[in-house]
Structures are given as structure tokens and as C-alpha cells.
């Protein structure tokens, strides 16, 4: 059960922004980075990764350029733009507030009402 946590709608975009905020990555690298920082607890549909990357670039949140990969092959690298950094902050803030609220609700005991 733990391994196949489905991503909430819109969460993938935020995770991609976070992954590339730590340094430029190619598409496959984004996938590995998210798996690595989630300690393999999140599985990302590989097919949905690229449409999400294209969408974010289309919105001007990330930027891409071609470069050399680790094993000297040409690959397209993504990096965060200024607008993307702002967007990531906003979304992270919203996510944390929401998580607090939900956690507070779930922790409520009978005595507290």
C-alpha cells in the first residue's frame, strides 16, 4: 500500500518544480530525483511526466536547454525560472497550510469539541 500512493491532482507539478529547484535536470533525472527524495515511497506515472514538463514550460515556470548528460549524451535539461520559483513558494505555502488544517481536523478528540 505504501509504495503506490496516488498523486493528488496538481501535486505532480509542484513536485517537478521542487525537483528542478535543486538544480537543472533532464526529464528522466526529474523522475529519479523525486523517487530519491521521497525515498521510493511515491511512484510517478512515467507517461504523465512529459506532458507535465511541457505544460510547465509552456506556462513559463521552467525553462529548458540542450546539454550533455552524465554519460555524454545529448539531453534536454530543465531549470526553474523566476516565475517558477514564486509559484513553487506559493504552492508549498498553500500545501503546508492545507496539511496543517487537515492534520488538525484528524487529530481532534472528543474532549476538544
Amino acid at each position: 500500500m505504501a509504495k503506490h500512493l496516488d498523486l493528488l491532482q496538481g501535486t505532480l507539478d509542484m513536485l517537478i518544480l521542487k525537483a528542478v529547484s535543486l538544480g537543472p535536470l533532464h526529464g528522466y533525472g526529474v523522475l529519479l530525483r523525486i523517487q530519491q527524495i521521497s525515498r521510493d515511497r511515491l511512484e510517478i506515472q512515467q507517461g504523465s511526466l512529459y506532458p507535465a514538463l511541457y505544460r510547465l514550460e509552456h506556462q513559463g515556470l521552467i525553462d529548458s536547454e540542450w546539454g550533455e548528460s552524465e554519460n555524454n549524451r545529448k539531453a534536454k535539461f530543465y531549470k526553474l525560472t523566476v516565475a517558477g520559483r514564486r509559484q513553487l513558494q506559493e504552492e508549498a505555502g498553500r500545501w503546508n497550510r492545507m496539511a496543517d488544517i487537515i492534520a488538525g481536523i484528524l487529530d481532534t478528540t472528543r474532549e476538544e469539541i
Binding site: H26, Y28, Q45, G47, Y50, H58, Q59, G60, W66, A83
Partner: protein
Amino acid sequence: MRLSARVRSWFRASLRRTRMEREMDNELHFHLERYTEDLISEGVSPEEALRRARAEFGAIEARKEECREALGLRFFDDLRSDVRYAFRTLTKAPVFTTVVVLTLALGIGANTAVFSVLNTVLFRPLPYPQSERLVQMWSTNANTNRWGIWTAYPRFADWRRLATAFEEMAAVRFWVVNLTGGDHPEALDAVLASARLFQVLRVQPMLGRAFLPEEDQPGHDHVIILSYGLWDRRFGSDRAVIGRAINIDRQSYTVIGVMPAGFRFPPDLPPSQSIDAWLPPSPDPSRNERGSNNYYVVASLRPAITAAQAQAEMDAINHGLAEKHSEDRDLGVKVVGWQQQVGSDIRPVLLILWGAISLVLLIACANVANLLLARGAARQRDAALRQALGAGRARLMRQLLTESVMLALFGGAAGLSLAYLGLELFIRLAPDIPRLTETTMDAHVFIFSAALTLGTGLLFGIMPALHGSKVDLQDALKESGSRLTASSGRARLRSVLVMAEMALAVMLLTGACLLLRSFVHVQQVDPGFNGQNLLTAFVILPPSRYPGPRSQALFFRQLMDHIALIPGVECAGGADSAPMLSNDAGPVSIEGHEARPGERVIQAERPKITPDYFRAMGIRLLRGRAFTWADDENSPPVTFLVPCA
């Protein structure tokens, strides 16, 4: 900022499409290769690794399609393939396509042509600078509750002196003057104008100058401005004409200016008429009479003053004038935007015409929709196949609508050329619509036509699209399936369309018949004279040469004799007013007849005529004799009573 990023990204992807596709392909394959390598390094066999990588990634073409959609390219990709497909199907059915395009071309073309006229006559600003500030001022008569009588010159002079809401104000009157000298005399259609007319219009002569402020005053008012046409015709476009004296009504007038070729005033002059000259009101003997309402007043409002504010000021001024002058007692004043005023007579006619033409377009739409529905039956399997391959209903509808709009576009393009030709014809057929010669197909017309075309395409396409996209896969793909059920709905729809079409056509026919009947009725009314083969001409004698009635009568007697001698002329007569062209009626009383209280006073027109007038007009005398030139001022006066229907 976000939007601009999207637009930039869309343009980049669209303009460098092949490069974008190649890079996308490289990127996705790089991913698959790296994943496969990673799986192999984890100990999976190469074949198995490749299989797993592909399975987890999903269909690569579908992924690409999603990426293209993310870049906003999908809409135009679909559009392009729809257009290509529609073009193929339309060229495969040339007869169908031709019939539809011609039908639409007629509907759209006629509508565009009428709109061009409407656009010019009703909406286009008058052909003078800052024409939105021009107003026309009418006198109104409170007693008869009738507005729209013209204004006496002295009254206009008071208005101009007292009003502050206007930059300039001018009064004009149509007149005919005789130009003599040179090889032949000529009667000129002239406009008598107060001095500031050209300041009101903000138009300057092409040569020379406009009137000076004092040039409508006696002693300064023997100046004249020529039209381009008269200057060209009579003076051989000689620039030295400025300052030359010419003979108008046997008095000397100095030419001070020539107006440019395109200048038309008044703006609502029918295209068949033109004005030859503008001069001060000096030839008009009635210009000092406060009871002669003969002038048409135009004015330009001061900036930031509205017609309503001007109206309020004019009402106050008018109140004061009515106290002072008995002639002004029952008169009011009305300030109207000149542009609205010019089109107001013809507006209902044009709107009716537009309505009728729009009905024709609706009928064309119903017709085309019907044809499309009939064709839809044959294409049911095609639609079913597309649906089986994954096309949604919306997608199918969009494809069908694309086809309809393309048909409409072809029709619209053909319609525009038709409108262009039709407009020429219309201008030739209806020469009495004001400002018709100004009519051109401007940007407004093209925008209207484009919107009309698109609207038409969607209108006639929507029902066939709704119907054509509703496919029962099972039935449609089975060769022998129950065709009957699918087509009975379509048959019902088609009969509804035919009924709507009939209803529209009947409406149109009824309207047309009523108009035709009114026309025939008007033609059949016996006006009391025979207008066939009758020519009329308008003659004004200059008072300086023909001062009294005797000399005038002598002139007309000689004129009648001369005209009667022209080969082909049967008979010539004259009158000082013609039937239906004047309403110069006045009260008539009969000697020895005691008017009973409450009895209606007889009102009659009292034209003065020459002996052969009745014969020339084909008016039959019931009893008695026509008079002769012997009935002059020395014999007892004679009068004719003409019975009227």
C-alpha cells in the same frame, strides 16, 4: 506576464514545428533508453527491460499528443486536419459543393450589398470634417403639431445673433439662377447661402476663397462660388476665373471661389442632381419676409455642447422671439443631429429591404442544411468508423462544423464579389437614395460580411452536425442494420426544415405581393392629368429684366409659341406651380354664397396658367371653353374649376 509566456511558447512551437517534433522525439527516446539501461544494470534481461520500459511509459504517440496539447498546438493541428479532410470531401462532390456555394453566395452577397448601402446612408458620418457636431434646425408649428417646416431668413438671423451654443450657423435655400453671357444662357441649380456656410461645414474652396462675413449683406452680396462641374463645363477649368465678373440674372456677380470636385452640399442631394453654384441670398425677394419659411438651417455645435443643451438654449431664444414678432408666435424650434436627419426618410425603406434580404439568407440556410442532412445519411458509416477509432462526439461535430464553415467561406467569398457587382446595379437602379454615390464596401462592410459568413456557416451547420455526430455504432457498422430508425429522425428534421423554409418563403412572397399591389395602386390612381410623354422644365425670369406681369406674360407667350414649333412637340403650356409639386392652397369663397356657420372653407390650389396648359397636361374640361391669350388684364377675369376625385 503568464499569458505572454504562453503566447511566446505557442509561437516558438508553431514556427519551429519540425525542430520541436524532432527534439520531443529525442527527449522521449532518451528517457526510454536510460530507463532500459537502469533496468539492465539492476539485472533484468535486455529484452525484458525494453518491454517493461515501454509498458510503463505507455504508447509513445499518445504521450507526444499530450505534450503537443500541453503546448496549445492541438486545436490548430485538429483544425488543419479537419480543413484538409473537408476540402477532400467537398472536391469529391463538385455538384453538391457548387450548388451550396452558389446558394450561399446569393444570400450573403445580397445581404452584404444592402448592408453597404445601410452602412453609408445611416451610419457613416457626413462627408465633412467633425461632422458629428453638425446639427440641423427646424422650425416647428405648435398649432398643426407638425414639425419640420423651414425657417424664414430674418428668424434665422435672430437665431444666429442670439445663440451661444454654436460655433457657426448658416441658412440655405435652393434656387435657380440664369447665367448669361458666353455662347448660350443656362439655368443653374444654385444654393443661396448665408455667409458662414463653409465655416459650418469646415470646407474650403479648391480655388479662391469662401464668403466673407459681410458678403450676405446688401451691397456686398454680388459674389458667387462655382461648383467644379460648372467651372469645368462652362469656364474650361480656367484658373483665372477668380475675380472675373459674370452675369447672373442680368446682374454682375464676381466669381470668388471654385469648390473641389468631390464636394456635395446638401449631403442628401439625390445622386441624379447636382448644385452648380453657391451665392448669397441676394436673388431671393422673400428673404426679408418673416412669414416666408424657406430656409434650411445648419449649425456646428461648440465642443462639449450637446444637441440637448443647444435645444434648451434655442427654446429660450425662441420664446423671446415669439413675444416680439407676431409671425413667430406659433413656431417652435427643433435641433436634430444632421447625420440622423439625412437618413431618416430612407431608413424604414432600407430596413425593410434588409429584413427581406435576411429572410432570403435564412431560406438559403435552411436549403443548405437540408442538403447537408441528405448527404449525412451517406456519411453515417464514415462517422461511425471515426467514432470506433476513438473520436468523441464533440470531435465529430467539430469536424462537421468545420466543413460547414468552409462551405460558408467559399460562399462568402463568392458573395463578396456578387455584392460588389450588385452594388453597382443598385446604385444605377435607385438613384434617389441620398448619399448612395458615397456607398463603398469599407472595412465595416468586410467585418460584417465575415461575421455573417461565419454565423451562416454555424447556423446551417449546427443541425446537420448534431445529427451527423449521433451515431449508433452497432447499427451503423452493420451493413444491413436498422437504417430505418436512424433515418426516420433525420426525415423528421428535414421536413421541419422544409416547413420552416416554406413559412419564410410565404412571408417573403406575401410582403413582396403587398408592396407590388401598393405600387400598382399608385400607378392606377388617376391624377387628373396625363403624365405620359410629358416633359417639364423650370424657368425663373430675372425681375430686373421682366419687372411687371405684362412683360412676363409676353415672355411666356413667346416661349410657348417657340416651344410649340419644335418638331415633335404637340402642345406647350405653362403654370406657376405643377400638380404634386406644390401645395400652395388657399381659401376660396364664392360670390353670393353666404357661408353657413361651421361650413368647411374651400381650400384650393390656384396656379396661374397659359391657354394651352390644360391641353398639354391632358386635363379635360367638363363644360365651357379654355381661355386664350385674348383673355388679358382688360377682359373680365376667368377662372376654371377642376373637379377632383
